[in-house]
């Protein structure tokens, strides 16, 4: 148990989260920095037309957590910082069957929302304390707790581990 390589612990995020929720008439607020993730489709909250545009600060505002795991595309354990995917879905009040995720290079994958929760998908923003750049599969990389759950070592999960994520469409 002591050597458990996977640990998600909420940082001071919950306080921030509470602030974000109270501040402003809008649930989401407006992005101040560059938009790194746009979500559309069956969501309860939007801030630009039918879509929810999020910058890094808005994502961090949901409460940062860490995940330490190996991945099929990196060597050695890596420490990812970001937010549990399910928390993002809840924040946007997403309802539907799947999230169709599209990357900067137009890679598309449909991830069932049930998978996101069951497999505990994680929206990573930093790797080993450094913000993910496009060259490092950033700014957003969806990773999974592979070390904790050996069942995740399958092709479907590898397809779902989309990097350079740019848009989500909840259907």
């Amino acid at each position: 148990m002591a050597t458990r390589s996977f640990a998600v612990r909420a940082l001071a995020g919950s306080a921030l989260l509470a602030l974000t929720l109270v501040a402003g008439a809008e649930h989401l607020g407006q992005p101040a920095g560059p938009v790194i993730l746009s979500v559309e489709g069956r969501i309860g909250h939007t801030n630009r037309g039918a879509s929810a545009d999020l910058d890094r600060a808005m994502l961090e505002g949901l409460g940062l957590a860490t995940l330490v795991t190996h991945t099929p595309w990196t060597d050695g354990p890596r420490e990812f910082t970001g937010i549990p995917f399910a928390r993002l879905l809840d924040h946007l009040e997403a309802s539907g069957e799947k999230a169709v995720a599209r990357a900067l290079n137009d890679y598309v994958v449909a991830i069932p929302l049930a998978d996101i929760r069951r497999k505990r998908a994680f929206v990573a923003l930093d790797m080993d304390g450094k913000a993910l750049s496009i060259r490092d599969k950033g700014p957003i990389w969806v990773v999974f707790p592979w070390d904790e759950n050996p069942a995740l070592d399958d092709q479907a999960t590898k397809h779902q581990s989309i990097w350079q994520l740019r848009t989500l469409s909840i259907e």
Binding site: W73, T74, I134, R135, H159
Partner: protein, 814 residues
């Protein structure tokens, strides 16, 4: 000593059983492991290498574009492309996924060259003041590395093969392991059987000894019974008989043989007492329908000398009539308490029983159809709901509403209406299992309760019910009617709220099925009604439904021309047009989104398939081999369980060979549901149909999925093809899509071929097929003749049909 031996025997037995289970377990887990291993085999090595090449090609395109028009925008685009290409490197250099690639000999040098080229590009692109010549040099270097990269991709395909071999070896060794554990199972099984056989023999010997002892005892007893019998008989016989008013009396001896039967026996049973007296009970059992279990229970009660009260039995008389009997009996014991036999009475209760049954049937059944009525149906539904809550099982509830009943009733009167209901009920009865409940709920409404089934099974049953009505030809008073039924389907499981909620859900699902154009099955969803309100596309929906009802669709055909010398021709794609009330043709782009949203696109697809097959049935014998008709399919049809059966059925009905059909599915539709798509493709390909991925190339994801999707053709997205003559980037895109497609063994088709120059460029690249206005305008399929297709190929190449009809674009259903 014998106790020790006994313990030892059980010990051996236990160990053997444990061994047996263990080897079975090992064998099972081996099989599981085997299966998992084979899944991993679908390794994405090739995909990793391919992605690098695609990104690399896109980078070259972006740099070329920047060198042609050096603006801030094109610079930013090139830098974005550089970053994306760069991101492919760590993926190859690290992690388990790319491990097989790293084992390739050419891996380090290729990586070095690629990195070098990227670093060069990085230097030039990060310096805003860089000289155009430097950009030119970078392009040259990038281009120079490309062939190497491509060779590497080809080599990586070989790795894939190697990997395959490795997997095979591993599978073989697994198989050997499995054989070993199977042998273990056999051996320990044999030992087990031997030990059990010994055990059984020991037990039977012991029983035999005991029987010999008890036989001697019994003989002595019988002697004593006989001595007392005569005396006791006369006293108690009449007392017992008088206890019950009865049809006939009987007596049995201690061996349960009939010794006495009163006079009315023959009258009631239709059997001579002589046939029974002196025989055991079994003599009566012969040829009867009484359930074996019940009969045995009765026999065992007698054998245990119990008092028998009101035992009910059905008796079939030799003359064929069935009567119900009620039987009571008392055991008789002698002064010493030894069993002497039975005395009993039997009554004929046939009339009472039949009356009661009639009453119960009347209260719970519909007199017209003989089906269960609404009250009984709801009672059973309640029972099923209780079961679901108790054991978590799932069931389904169907509401069926005849679509044209009112018309029949109004035009031909109630007698015809009643006859229709009777016929429909009879048809329905053939579609459901015995254990399921079919009910007439009233008027033209029916209900079906399908027990212990998942929603898919229920859907199949509903489909059978729907078809049963569709196939019914009803005529009355010289009118003939085509009928259909709308079906609402609701799952009944532990989550179901209550009876009222279920009934109203089934009702609204049935209503939704009617609303969607009748002759439908609608599975209840909680948000049905809400969604429909939210979207403003109802207008299109009703237009589509009217068009479906009135057959106001039209197919137009466009030739697909083989570019290799000596191509036989004859291929064409059919495109859909909705004919508006005023006769104008509406393109699919306008109405298909609504069709998708409201799930009517599978119905449209059915219309298209039916009509395309009708044409093929008429003309296929005049078509050149292997001429095919390309038909667009919507994404929803891939998930439609009945679509496969429909297509198979239509092929069989029309006699058209499956190889005459090629289905086109947009890559987006295929990718958003890869599982369904693969299954669907595979099932139809097994019959001989072909598949094409439509609008291919808009996302690179496609290349990754390409390996898992069993398709034959790639249709290069027309937006790339249109400008290949003027735009080097588009040319490069088409070239790389074609190249990768060819590498993976797919045929490529270019759409939007509008002039000779595009055609020439496509020929140079090596694309297999082309289609577009260059080969002539679209023609209604109805007017098409197989030879006309070839005329278009040979003739008027200059006629580019400059009309702006976007119909040249085979609008997919995405």
């Amino acid at each position: 000593m014998s106790r020790v031996r006994g313990t030892l025997r059980y010990l051996v037995l236990g160990t053997t059983i444990a061994l047996f289970s263990l080897s079975a377990l090992v064998s099972f887990s081996r099989i599981e492991e085997h299966k998992r291993e084979l899944q991993v085999e679908r390794n994405s090595v090739l995909w990793l290498a391919t992605s690098l090449e695609i990104e690399y090609l896109r980078l070259i395109s972006a740099v070329i574009r920047y060198s042609l028009e050096p603006t801030a925008g094109s610079l930013a685009a090139a830098r974005r492309r550089l970053d994306l290409t760069w991101s492919r490197l760590p993926v190859l250099l690290e992690g388990t996924e790319a491990e097989p690639l790293r084992r390739l000999e050419s891996f380090p040098p290729v990586m070095d060259r690629v990195r070098g080229a990227l670093e060069g590009a990085d230097r030039v692109l990060s310096d805003p003041a860089s000289d155009p010549r430097a950009v030119g040099a970078v392009t040259t270097e990038l281009e120079a590395v490309r062939p190497m990269l491509h060779e590497f991709l080809t080599a990586s395909m070989l790795t894939d093969e190697l990997l395959h071999e490795q997997m095979k070896d591993r599978a073989t060794s697994l198989q050997h392991g499995q054989y070993a554990s199977f042998l273990g199972m056999l051996l320990s099984g044999a030992v087990l059987v031997f030990l059990l056989a010994r055990q059984i023999r020991a037990v039977s010997r012991a029983r035999h000894r005991a029987e010999l002892q008890s036989a001697a005892l019994r003989e002595e007893m019988t002697e004593r019974v006989r001595a007392h019998a005569a005396l006791r008989h006369s006293e108690s016989r009449f007392k017992d008989f008088a206890e019950a008013a009865a049809d006939w009396f009987w007596e049995m001896d201690s061996e349960l043989r009939f010794t006495y039967l009163s006079d009315r026996f023959e009258e009631v049973m239709g059997l001579s007492p002589d046939a029974v007296v002196g025989h055991a009970l079994d003599a009566l059992d012969e040829g009867q329908q009484t359930a074996r279990e019940r009969w045995q229970q009765h026999a065992s009660e007698l054998a245990r000398h119990l008092v028998i009260d009101d035992y009910d039995v059905q008796w079939r008389r030799p003359d064929g009539r069935t009567c119900h009997l009620s039987l009571s009996a008392r055991p008789v014991f002698d002064a010493d308490g030894a069993f002497e036999g039975y005395r009993g009475v039997t009554r004929d209760v046939t009339q009472e029983r039949e009356l009661a049954e009639q009453m119960a049937h009347l209260a719970s059944h519909d007199p017209l159809t003989g089906l269960v009525n609404r009250r009984e149906f709801e009672k059973r539904l309640e029972r099923v709901l209780d079961t679901a809550r108790a054991d978590g099982s799932s069931h389904a509830l169907c509401f069926l509403d005849l679509d044209q009943f009112k018309i029949v009733n109004d035009t031909c009167g109630h007698v015809a209406g009643d006859e229709l209901i009777r016929q429909v009920a009879k048809r329905f009865a053939t579609c459901v299992r015995k254990r399921d409940t079919l009910s007439r709920l009233g008027g033209d409404e029916f209900g079906v309760l399908i027990e212990r089934c998942d929603i898919e099974h229920a859907r199949r049953v509903a489909e059978a019910l729907r078809r049963a009505v569709e196939e019914l030809r009803f005529s009355a008073n010289g009118h003939s009617f085509t009928l259909s039924v709308s079906i609402g389907l609701v799952a009944v499981d532990a989550h179901s709220e209550n009876l009222t909620q279920l009934l109203s859900a089934a009702d609204s699902a049935c209503y939704a099925a009617k609303d969607q154009g009748r002759n439908q099955i609608h599975v209840y969803r909680a948000d049905d009604a809400m969604l429909a309100r939210r979207r403003g596309e109802v207008r299109w929906l009703s237009a589509i439904q009217q068009a479906l009802g009135a057959d106001r669709f039209e197919l137009v055909a466009q030739d697909i021309v083989g570019l290799a010398a000596g191509s036989p021709g004859g291929d064409f794609e059919v495109l859909l047009r909705l004919v508006a009330e005023d006769g104008t043709r509406i393109l699919p782009g306008a109405f298909l989104p609504a069709a998708e949203r409201y799930h009517v696109s599978p119905r449209i697809d059915r219309w298209v398939i039916r009509n395309a097959l009708a044409w093929l049935a008429e003309w296929r014998h005049h078509m050149p081999e292997p001429g095919k008709c390309f038909v667009n399919l919507s994404g929803l049809s891939l998930g439609d369980a009945q679509m496969l059966d429909f297509i198979t059925g239509e092929l069989k009905r029309t006699g058209v060979e499956a190889r005459r059909l090629c289905f086109e599915v947009t890559e987006t539709a295929a990718i958003s549901n890869v599982g369904n798509a693969s299954r669907f493709f595979q099932a139809l390909r097994d019959q001989g149909c072909r598949f094409a991925l439509d609008d291919f190339g808009s996302g690179v994801s496609s290349f990754g999925y390409l390996r898992t999707l069993p398709v034959d053709y790639l249709k290069i997205d027309g937006v790339f093809v249109r400008d290949i003559v003027d735009d080097p980037v588009d040319l490069e895109m088409v070239r790389s899509i074609n190249q990768i497609g060819q590498l993976m063994g797919k045929k490529t088709i270019a759409e939007f071929v509008e002039n000779d120059r595009i055609l020439a460029a496509l020929r140079t690249i090596g694309v297999d097929y082309a289609q577009g206005f260059h080969f002539g305008a679209l023609r209604p399929l109805a007017e098409r003749r197989p030879s006309a297709g070839r005329a278009a190929l040979a003739g008027n190449a200059g006629d580019t049909a400059s009309s702006a009809d976007a119909g040249g674009r085979p609008v997919g259903t995405a």
